[in-house]
Symmetry: C2
Subunit: 342 residues, 2 copies
């Protein structure tokens, strides 16, 4: 059905198209990749490959380009692993020696680095906060009517939020509440805190203190604030160097989508099971992200998958290298995080 030679031809087409961005013809293949047969033979093979839906013609009398299905076949069966060269490995390792002590920062920088190394767009999903266990919760008086709530989890997440109180609160009383909260909530996941204990605590405090509003606000605002997880993107403009984005309309829709947190999250979120995955062209469930592929990988803390990174490029991207980069970076990231919260 799909014999060795067809594979070679498909492989050649993908390789060539990835580097040139031009439809590739039978003659080109015969000359550049010597398969030991003439262009005419290759023409026949290409005709078959087209029938199978693995390649397609932009128009008659143009060469062929791989279809999504073609890339899929390539990625699954043809592609050979490509080790990064010394320079790149060096770059990445150098980066990870830089000590960044806060999660957000680390992630953001990783994003930059990723896009820089790959020349594609990088996406990084920061761990769900609610996955982490509460390490510390503390309220600190800022002004008589304002309290700063500080939350730290064991996955390194730190968040603060100012809450306006309707009535003043004494520092002393604040201390007590702090103590109480810390006792009650330590070691619970934020989700648990949010779901199960919300009622109990607010009642408890309210009974003692008529501070129901404070308690409610605390919970609602501090824990449920802007989304439960965050994403960063880097190098979105790299896409503009790709010939498939020479049209401003396409640029607009693509960049527009990348600005929507929700969409980026879904791009990365699809799987939070361990490992690297590749989504090609139409496999990405968004109209508007056309002719693009995403490679995702996950990183871990304490053996738990806590987030994922992704590389977004044209379907015509250099898969082997991109996969290698994703894998090296996720590994390194996991290592660094392990050290960070040992």
């Amino acid at each position: 059905m799909i014999d060795e030679r067809k594979k070679q031809v498909l492989h050649a087409i993908v390789k060539d198209y990835v580097t040139t961005a031009e439809p590739v013809g039978s003659r080109t293949i015969a000359k550049k990749y010597d398969l030991g047969v003439s262009s005419a033979t290759i023409r026949n093979e290409m005709s078959d490959l087209e029938e199978m839906g693995l390649i397609e013609q932009p128009h008659t009398s143009a060469g062929r380009i791989p279809s999504d299905k073609g890339y899929r076949f390539y990625v699954d069966y043809l592609m050979e692993k490509e080790e990064l060269d010394a320079d790149e490995i060096n770059n990445i390792n150098m980066f990870f020696t830089k000590r960044l002590s806060e999660l957000d920062e680390l992630v953001q920088e990783t994003c930059r680095m990723l896009s820089h190394v790959t020349k594609y767009t990088a996406l990084v999903l920061v761990p769900k906060r609610s996955e982490g266990k509460l390490e510390k919760i503390q309220m600190i008086s800022v002004s008589p009517h304002q309290v700063l709530v500080l939350i730290v989890t064991d996955t390194g997440f730190i968040n603060h939020r100012v809450i306006d109180l309707r009535q003043a609160i004494s520092p002393r009383r604040l201390q007590e509440i702090n103590f109480f909260l810390q006792e009650k909530l330590y070691g619970l996941s934020l989700e648990q805190v949010n779901r199960t204990l919300l009622g109990e605590i607010s009642i408890h405090i309210a009974r003692q203190e008529q501070l129901l509003d404070l308690a409610l606000e605390l919970m609602e605002q501090a824990l449920m604030d802007r989304g439960d997880e965050r994403v960063f993107t880097g190098g979105a403009l790299n896409m503009l160097n790709q010939p498939e984005f020479r049209d401003v309309e396409k640029v607009k829709t693509l960049l527009g989508m990348l600005e929507e947190e929700e969409i980026v999250k879904k791009l990365l979120h699809k799987q939070l099971r361990e490992g690297t995955e590749i989504f090609i062209g139409g496999e990405i469930p968004f109209e508007g992200i056309n002719k693009c592929s995403v490679i995702t990988g996950t990183y871990k803390v304490n053996g738990r998958v806590v987030g994922s990174i992704g590389i977004l490029g044209p379907t015509r991207m250099t898969y082997p290298k991109a996969v290698s980069v994703v894998e090296t970076v996720t590994d390194q990231l996991s290592l660094v995080l392990a050290k960070m919260f040992r």
Copy 2:
């Protein structure tokens, strides 16, 4: 030299070009804006205006477009104030009723709103931290070897940063240091803290405690972290709707510049003296930001200018409306901030 009629002609040219984005000819002016003279007369006037450098021809046999100098004249002498319509005012006011209790968030949201209302790109500079006076400094133990430093200023700036310690520190001792720092530093500007007291404190603590490294790290990392002020941009993609950015290369350079914090800062920073200012075309000191104008305005806390906002659009932008928006928003912003830190 430049008589009333010339002004009228220039005014007409600017108005027309702003809405159509097409070079405007003498006939168009004669028909649409009845100045009571024929196109031939207008042609003569235009010839004069061109000689004066206020308008220019993209090529012979095209209409004229305003030059930077022409826009400058328009902005300085011709433009009439334009009140916002009820809808827009409503929009803005509605926005400011939303209660956002944290500065960063408020500013970021303002940015979104601004770009949405104007359909241009919005830039917002968040107050210099070092302008604010220290309201609170506190170190909170996160783990035996990690301390979270929290800084709050009277301008509403809140920052935290985790510091890794080389030796463990007891909660009790931390308390003492907190007390000491709070005493010593309260009410000083962060700059002062940074510059003058750095030495004194580190020596003081070190003598008592051999915690020189802690003190140093504290100061260096917590106070000097990533830049002293931050900027947000919003609606950068709006620029893609402007016909002058139909070319991907231009898009790339412009968006590239907007991604550089330093550049955006300078765009806004130029003046932190009170009031609205307009920078047209070449008056913006960046190659690469071509055919663009910026309108900036400042907002205040306690009568002190603490930050500025800007609108970036094509030189061919609707100045009167943009100015009105900037002015309404800075006013409202100052009001909200006043409430926030009364």
